[in-house]
């Protein structure tokens, strides 16, 4: 339990769409930046 968050927050129900969006962006970021870096290294070496 994150007790510090309890001071000003009400109970949040559901919200899986936000969770999936956040993790989707994380995955896209890793794949996107990783691929961009890999392609630049290939081009330069």
């Amino acid at each position: 339990m994150i007790t510090l968050a309890a001071d000003y927050m009400g109970h949040v129900s559901g919200g899986w769409e936000y969770v999936y969006a956040a993790w989707g962006i994380t995955l896209a970021g890793i794949v996107g930046y990783g691929s961009w870096l890999y392609s630049r290294r290939k081009k330069e070496s």
Binding site: A5, S13, G14, G15, V19, A22, I30, L37, R41
Partner: protein
């Protein structure tokens, strides 16, 4: 598995710090010349494998294994991706600061390459971290964005490091570029402690930092796993970006010789 981890409590948490120490050691060895090129290649491939495995398991730990939070329900699961990525952004800025300072003291272009690499990788993690924070804010604060001191200083961080990288692209002379960007990197770092302490100084809407005593042990262990996974990724990306910066510098140095003299060209 959960029962086993919880029964060991703080000892297990302590054990999870071991990879951090090993990672720091591996990173120092990779960047230094204490080990030969072949060993360095194996070291970074090992870290890449560790990052892939840990990040592969992470969605299960964060989305399935970890229990819902008492007040936020499932939305808090965004923290497992948001918090470590903001930490990696701060780590990138810190590395940039150290490398910038080292360049001004030693005038070694390797430190300039480390500064460039850490700024770009830090900016990447910072951008994703801020976007994730915004997604979390909507269902919990009721807004995508507010000019809270923590959020504002995070936005300043992104703008400043984007400016830093843009400036590097416009200065052609490697010596001037390294010097100017080192000065900028040192000044830009002022924002990082402000960002870290903003939640304590101004006590606005963004909550202050949690610690293991205020967080369920299952959650803190998943957060530690997640942070270690992103740290492995951070090291791999910074190392690869560093090698790219070194390749570009070699080309810049080789370029005048490769081109015909101006008189002959005209």
């Amino acid at each position: 598995m959960r029962h086993w981890l919880l029964s060991y409590g703080s000892d297990t948490r302590l054990m999870l710090w071991v990879p951090w120490v090993l990672l720091a050691l591996a990173f120092a060895l990779i960047l230094s010349h204490l080990i030969d090129q072949k060993a360095r290649a194996w070291a970074w491939k090992g870290l890449l494998a560790m990052a892939v495995v840990m990040l592969g398991v992470l969605p299960y730990l964060a989305l399935v294994w970890s229990p819902p939070e008492k007040y936020q329900g499932d939305v808090y699961r965004i923290f497992y991706a948001h918090v470590p990525q903001i930490w990696m952004a701060m780590l990138g800025a810190t590395l940039n600061f150290g490398a910038s300072l080292a360049f001004l003291l030693k005038r070694s272009f390797k430190t300039d390459s480390i500064a460039e690499a850490s700024a770009e990788v830090g900016l990447y993690f910072g951008t994703v971290g801020v976007v994730l924070g915004s997604i979390w804010a909507k269902p919990t604060w009721g807004t995508w964005w507010t000019w809270d001191p923590r959020l504002t200083s995070a936005a300043v961080m992104l703008i400043v490091y984007a400016g830093y990288l843009t400036m590097r692209r416009f200065v052609e002379d490697p010596e001037k570029r390294a010097t100017w960007s080192s000065v900028m990197g040192i000044i830009a770092y002022v924002d990082i402690p402000v960002m870290f302490l903003a939640v304590r100084w101004w006590r606005s809407i963004h909550q202050v930092q949690s610690n293991p005593s205020t967080v369920d042990s299952t959650m803190s262990m998943v957060l530690l796993w997640s942070t270690t996974a992103f740290l492995c990724l951070f090291v791999v990306l910074v190392y690869q970006r560093y090698l790219l910066a070194e390749d570009v510098k070699k080309r810049e140095v080789a370029l005048p010789d490769a081109l015909p003299p101006k008189e002959l060209a005209t």
